[in-house]
């Protein structure tokens, strides 16, 4: 925000400036610090404590993390959730970006009719609650209703149908695909906006040189929207490693079958809030949240230091 500041405000008396800053910044900074930053810090602090049944807390240093990563009772579900979360993210990356790029590419074709209609319709699922989307797909894929089975039978693939959401082998990938279906609108829109921002002269020059639409897209447009694609990827990373709603609403807190769909968000909820199998444990919950924080931080740092820096060299 290194904008030139007008001379008049620069010459303001100090006391007056302080008063104005307090008035304009005060409410936002207080609410944000109190209900966003402080809880994050307090949660990390709490992760170094343990509480006995009477509720008294005592400092234990990093013991909670040792338990989480070393005690099989805790580490097995933790690594399971982390592994599942990585699969959840991998499915998003492999499906969401290519589909988003393809749709954005088609939408940005010059002279395409009904553009606004397609955009509106294809973005609609992104606006809905994850709970609603999850449950709707739960019904559609249910063998009880038979819509998915019927649709496959209609195209002669009836034998392919299985209760995907119920099987240990396919439940996680199915849920990931439901999430991709819902959120593909975001990469589509951001990449579409980036494509529209490419200077017209660049495309014209390529066309004069005799390149077709296809090659213009892959050789000129795509490299120019790479920064947007990596931004979308890091947004997806943060959202995925913090996801909870979809698994909880389709599979419940126990993330069945047999924890096959358990990700860090549901693991955190069970640890912190408790469920049919265990009592809630706020201090261990805080430890899980702290680990999730560092995983997200790691992803953000990788993005900032590796991807951002390399991309800047291509920027024009």
């Amino acid at each position: 925000m290194a904008e030139p500041v007008s001379n008049i405000t620069a010459q303001m008396p100090r006391a007056k400036l302080a008063g104005l800053l307090l008035f304009f910044l005060g409410p936002a900074v207080v609410i944000y610090t109190l209900f966003s930053i402080y809880p994050l810090v307090a949660t990390m602090a709490l992760s170094t404590y343990t509480s006995d049944p009477s509720g008294a807390r005592s400092f234990v240093g990093l013991a909670n993390f040792e338990t989480l990563l070393g005690d099989a009772l805790w580490s097995k579900p933790f690594w399971n959730a982390l592994g599942n979360n990585l699969i959840f993210f991998a499915v998003h990356m492999c499906m969401q970006n290519p589909i988003g790029i393809a749709l954005a590419g088609l939408l940005s074709l010059p002279g395409l009719r009904l553009k606004g209609f397609y955009r509106t319709v294809m973005f609609l699922p992104t606006m809905l609650s994850v709970v609603i989307v999850g449950f709707s797909w739960n019904l559609i894929l249910s063998p009880l209703w038979g819509v998915a089975a019927g649709a496959l039978k209609a195209v002669g693939l009836g034998s392919l149908f299985a209760p995907w959401l119920g099987l240990e082998s396919s439940a996680l990938v199915t849920l990931s695909l439901i999430s991709v279906w819902q959120f593909v609108g975001i990469p589509m829109m951001l990449i579409y906006a980036a494509l529209l921002n490419i200077p017209e002269e660049l495309i014209d020059a390529a066309r004069v040189d005799g390149l077709g639409q296809f090659r213009i897209f892959f050789h000129i447009k795509l490299p120019l929207v790479l920064p947007t694609i990596s931004l979308v990827s890091v947004l997806t990373f943060v959202a995925n490693f913090n996801a909870f709603d979809l698994i909880y609403s389709v599979k419940g807190a126990l993330a069945g079958p047999n924890f096959a769909t358990d990700i860090l968000g549901t693991f955190f909820y069970r640890t912190f809030f408790g469920n049919q199998l265990q009592l809630g444990n706020p201090t261990m919950g805080a430890a899980v949240a702290t680990v999730m924080f560092f995983i997200i931080l790691l992803g953000l740092c990788l993005y900032l230091f590796l991807v951002q820096r390399r991309i800047r060299r291509y920027a024009f």
């Binding site: 966003s36 709490l46 397609y118 809905l128 609650s129 019904l139 609403s249 999730m292």
Partner: protein, 277 residues
């Protein structure tokens, strides 16, 4: 247009139509079947309701056995109050950060931007403790405070970009006339931020309305549940009653879809504007 171009354009439209169907098909299917009798839901799920199969039995049941109207009003209160505060406090902070030069302004801007990337959800353990000790547990106020804190960073970021685009002469002219700073903000700058509201809305209203996590953690009684949580719990309870389940889903879908269709032009313009880059 040559035959080849026409074939290409037809192909493009076929792909886009196919994907559009994939995007709205499931939603249409749920809404359509919510208006049918049970036998028709299972007998011919793909057929729209007709005179023989039309029924509102699911909706009647949802109204009778859940507090759906309370959920709606809770969601409305929480979303509207949070949005108003996010816009007001966000615009004020964005104004101060872009307009005044002071020591630590860059550090403050960085501090405020942490919340764009780090999800506030990770602080839930401490948030619940705080709300309990402040006596705010199970109140809409608790939800509003959390959502304002969650929405502020993004709105400050977006609104700063908008404020920077307002011509400087406009504010300095007012200053030369001796207009106080607060009036410059509220009477000159704030009205010019109207186009930014749609952009901020995409990033704040939608996640608040759709959120399941904080209502689940912070509210425990029916009188404070939001639509998302209320419907989620209703679905879990009545899972075998397909009429009610489809009706409850439709009731959660329809208001959002209606608002989206009305505002979609502004929402999409906001999303594709430079503010998100």
């Amino acid at each position: 247009m040559t035959a080849e171009q026409r074939a290409k354009s037809l192909g493009v439209h076929l792909v886009l139509i196919a994907y559009s169907l994939l995007a709205v098909g499931p939603i249409l299917l749920v809404v359509m079947n919510s208006f049918k009798v049970r036998s028709a839901i299972f007998g011919s799920p793909l057929a729209p309701p007709d005179a023989a199969t039309f029924s509102l039995v699911g909706y009647e049941k949802v109204f009778r056995s859940s507090h759906i109207l309370t959920y709606y009003s809770n969601s409305l209160i929480v979303t509207l109050v949070s949005m108003a505060l996010v816009l007001l406090f966000g615009a004020m902070a964005a104004w101060a950060l872009t307009e005044y030069r002071f020591r630590g302004s860059t550090a403050l801007a960085l501090f405020l931007s942490i919340g764009i990337m780090v999800p506030i959800r990770l602080g839930s353990v401490a948030i619940l403790n705080m709300m309990r000790s402040a006596g705010l547990n199970d109140t809409l106020t608790a939800l509003i405070l959390v959502y304002v804190a969650q929405g502020l960073p993004m709105s400050i970021f977006i609104l700063s970009e908008f404020i920077q685009q307002i011509p400087r002469d406009l504010r300095d002219a007012a200053r030369c006339d001796g207009v106080p700073e607060t009036r410059i903000f509220f009477e000159v700058v704030a009205p010019l931020l109207r186009p930014a509201i749609a952009t901020v809305a995409v990033f704040t209203i939608v996640p608040i309305w759709n959120d399941l996590w904080f209502p689940l953690i912070l509210t425990s009684s029916d009188s404070t549940h939001t639509v998302t949580l209320g419907v989620q719990q209703f679905l879990g309870q009545y899972i075998t009653d397909w009429n009610s389940v489809l009706a409850a889903l439709s009731m959660a879908i329809l208001p959002v879809v209606m608002i989206y269709v009305i505002l979609s032009r502004q929402l999409i313009a906001g999303l594709t504007s430079g503010a998100v880059k």
